[in-house]
Amino acid sequence: MTKFWADLNAGFADWMPQLLWACLQTLQLTALTFLVAVPLGLIIVGMRLSSRKPLKWFAVGLIEVARGTPALVILFVVYFGLPSAFPGLSLNSLTAAVVGLGLQGGAILAEIFRSGIEAIDRGQREASLTIGLTPRQAMIDVIAPQAWRIALPPVGNYVVGLLKDTSIASIIAAPELMLRAKDLASSSFMPMQLYVLAALLYFLMSYPLSQFFRHLERRVIPGWRTR
């Protein structure tokens, strides 16, 4: 145990700036993925709820496949598979990670959005149509403002999960915290110290994030209940 602290003490000043920089890269990867996943999720849920059968079944298939496959496999298909099948279509590791995780995130968010929309009483839509709103207006002005409150808690869980799942991108060498920890661990031969530090840094990012979402829920959900 003393060896642990002595080694940690020796390396700490050297590692910490690099690990903190890598934390920013992890946050960047999380943010970029989220920015891809949200519009994609909206498109997929639009197709999923569409009355056109082919669109609907395409969305169902996409959701099942993207959610049922491990993120690691999706990343490997995008990063290694695509360039081998279509020469010239090679993405760098960061882009591949954003595309792969974003694709899976889009499917996860689509299901979250759908459950939010379907939780709104059908009468709301019927009433909107009765007073002369178009289906589009009913969705945007009546259903969506209520549905997003229901969707917020699972979206928060998704974001916190995503922050941790970005660690998987280290396996395709995308620049983020886990990769930096792995590199430092193999150059210093101190895996325990570095992986514990990395785990702590993940915790220091994900715990405040989950508390933030909990705070947001508390502010938003009472407003929904009083209605």
């Binding site: 049922g68 496959t69 491990p70 690691l72 496999v73 081998s84 031969f189 325990m192 992986y195």
Partner: protein
């Protein structure tokens, strides 16, 4: 293609073993943690709470690396499959503890009071009244956790457990046929995860009907 398939199928068996081992480990530890979370002893409660938050706040990959590479550096060299089962089991214990706890707490307190006023002892109230109702509520999230766990076994390829993904990576190194192989891997995972998640939504629908 057929050669790939037979080779990868051997990995499916390893993945299922790892998932089953981790599921048992996580269930036992999760039950213990849930009891601690529900206990009136402040110390036990805070230990369990901290464990759950710490485990849920860190990536499974980091946990696996600490167990496998970190401990090896301190003289505890685990068999990769053992490290995988313990690592994924520890990871799952935090999620299952919350599932078990919320299931038990979701049973109306009036049920306990009614059981007690009928003269049942606290033990029998828990065993005969609370747990059967709580259990029904826990089943769908438990199966969902199983699906998640199965997908997470792909991570143990990084600590050299010869499961589906590890074998696929070796095949690719030999053949460079990465698209075919990784799509085949995806299909193998889907062939297990889709039926399992269908089961979860069926059970969910059934338990919702039962509670109405």
């Amino acid at each position: 293609m057929e050669r790939y398939f037979t080779f990868l199928l051997g990995g499916v068996w390893v993945s299922v073993q790892a998932a089953a081992g981790a599921l048992i480990f996580a269930t036992l530890l999760g039950l213990l943690l849930a009891l601690m979370l529900l206990s009136r002893n402040g110390l036990l409660f805070y230990i369990a709470r901290a464990w759950v938050e710490l485990i849920r706040g860190t990536p499974a990959l980091a946990q696996l690396f600490i167990l496998y590479f970190g401990l090896a550096d301190f003289g505890l060299r685990m068999h990769p499959l053992v490290a995988a089962i313990v690592g994924l089991g520890i990871n799952g214990s935090a999620y299952l503890a919350e599932i078990f706890r919320s299931g038990i707490q979701a049973v109306d307190h009036g049920q306990t009071e009614a059981g007690r006023s009928l003269g049942l002892s606290p033990f029998w109230v828990t065993y005969d009244v609370v747990l059967p109702q709580a259990g029904r509520m826990m089943v769908p999230p438990f199966v969902n956790y199983g699906v998640q766990l199965l997908k997470d076994t792909s991570l143990i390829s990084t600590i050299a457990v010869p499961e589906i993904m590890f074998r696929a990576r070796n095949l690719v190194m030999e053949t460079y046929d990465s698209m075919t192989i990784y799509l085949l891997v995806a299909a193998l995972y889907l062939s297990i995860s889709i039926p399992l998640s269908q089961l979860a939504s069926y059970l969910q629908a059934r338990s919702m009907r039962a509670s109405q």
